[in-house]
Amino acid sequence: MSESMKIQSIGDRPVTVERAIPVTYDLGNLTMYDTNMMDSQIMSSTGEEEAKEAYLQSLARDSAQLLVNQILALPVVTGGRTGGDVNHNDGVFVKLPDPTTQLPREKPVPVPKPLTKWEKFAKQKGITPKARNTGNMVYDEAKGEWVKKWGYKGKNQEEPWLVEVDEKAESGGTAESENKGKGKNKSRK
């Protein structure tokens, strides 16, 4: 079979897998557990390596298909990974759930360090650290991004988006800016 014909025929193959006992998944670990009985005849036959390998491969393919189906059902997040990883800013990402299988830790749960003398005193007196300056950036809800509070292109310098109609200006009078600095209509006595 030529390559293109082979690819065509692969497209006809089913994408669903039937299993007698439903399979359990741990998508946080990209793992699946299949407790269905295997074909003991194929597995225990000593001479037929190829048949056994083909069987194992078919089982593995079914597992992979089931896993892929489950993973594709997860909510999709497009855009960058929120880790500042520059190289992965495009691509389709899938939000994995937390792993369900509990595995033993490698180190014990950390014990909270005993409070120092000052910390104990501060806690007892109710002394909290001074409110530090939160920096220049502030989140602008309307724009949906962070803008500077002050400085070049700072938020405090932006023009008001709504200005009341000034009757004098509307009726064709000269703009206020034009008159600035000019000593117009000033009569000297």
Partner: protein
């Protein structure tokens, strides 16, 4: 045995902090250690397995005279020095040919371990060269009822999962689904643990395949998955097992308070599936309720009501009757 090192600069302090117990732990690092009798086959098998653990694995080159089941103290020392909690120890003897001892440590002490004798081995180099990028997360599948029923096989499952799962990630790039590690064991799982007869235990088949997806004509969104074996191909026979001390295991399985899911108080889901919460408003003294400032409570003429519908009328009446009677105020109706 290890002296406590006081950090002299920020870099050493960071290194120390990285090794200290943490709420969310680092990915477990592994070590491959060669026994004094380690054969070439075992060495190659360990190298091939290590390829799927990169970069979180260190391979030791020198041979060490160690008998893990008798005295694992030097392995514990290696674990502490290298901050590695998973160790594969390779050995070969007449009684136990081509054996890999897999062990886990907790707090740098042996938690549990088991022996896997290599029955068949086909190296990665013997397969068509298919590589995966270092650090890719594998898909793992455990097939066979025995992995759920037999405690030793459950230990093997847990160890393999710990070893191969890689870094914990919350967002997965779909292009990162490159390979699958398939661990199978046939047998009905009704094998008694206490029979002591290890020859009856079914062998564990370890296979790794590269994944290729094809567009399916049957379903648009789901691709057809096809596999190609990329090795290594290993068949293991389970040998001696040293189960974890129950107290140590209990310590190891503890979840820190920060990670335990917090039950949200006050919020419930009703029968229709809607999220319902109770807002606790303080008790209101209806006698002292300020109604003069509520425009909605003003009595309005009938003409205004015409368009609004009957329900409003009734409510209007109820409110008005409650409030107006005790107050007996003359309202100027606009």
């Amino acid at each position: 045995m290890m002296r406590i090192v006081k950090p002299r600069n920020a870099r050493s302090k960071r290194a120390m902090d990285s090794r200290a117990p943490k709420v969310v732990e680092n990915t477990k690092t592994a070590l491959t250690v060669r026994g004094s009798t380690c054969s070439v086959l075992v060495q190659n098998a360990m190298t091939d397995i290590a390829a799927y653990k990169q970069p979180d694995i260190k391979k030791f080159q020198k041979k060490n005279e160690i008998r893990p089941f008798e005295d694992a103290s030097s392995l514990e020392f290696f674990s502490q020095k290298n901050d590695a909690s998973l160790i594969i120890f390779g050995s070969n003897s007449k009684k136990r040919p081509n054996t890999l001892t897999w062990l886990r440590t907790f707090n740098y002490q042996v938690l549990d371990m088991f022996e896997l004798k290599v029955l068949n081995y086909k190296a990665m180099s013997e397969f068509k060269k298919l590589t995966v990028n270092v650090g890719m997360k594998p898909m793992i599948s455990f097939i066979g009822p025995i992995f759920d029923s037999h405690p030793h096989y459950q230990m093997v499952k847990s160890m393999f999962l710990d070893f191969f799962r890689g870094e914990q990630i919350s967002m997965l790039d779909l292009a990162g689904l490159q390979y699958i590690i398939s661990v199978t064991a046939s047998g009905d799982g009704n094998i008694s643990v206490y029979s002591g007869d290890t020859s009856n235990l079914p062998p564990i088949n370890f296979r790794v395949y590269k994944i290729k997806t094809y567009k399916s004509k049957k379903q648009d969104k789901v691709p057809r998955v096809e596999l190609e074996e990329m090795g290594p191909r290993l068949d293991f026979q389970l040998g001696r097992v040293r189960e974890a001390d129950p107290d140590m295991m209990k310590q190891a399985m503890k979840i820190p308070k920060e990670l335990q899911p917090k039950a949200k108080k006050n919020v419930e889901t009703d029968l229709l599936g809607d999220k319902v919460a109770t807002i606790h408003v303080g008790k209101q003294d209806l006698m002292k309720l300020q109604t003069r400032k509520m425009k909605g409570l003003k009595k309005r003429s009938k003409d205004e009501f015409e368009g609004q519908g009957g329900v409003d009328d009734e409510i209007e009446d109820v409110i008005v009757s409650d409030e107006e009677q005790p107050k007996k105020r003359k309202r100027h109706i606009k």
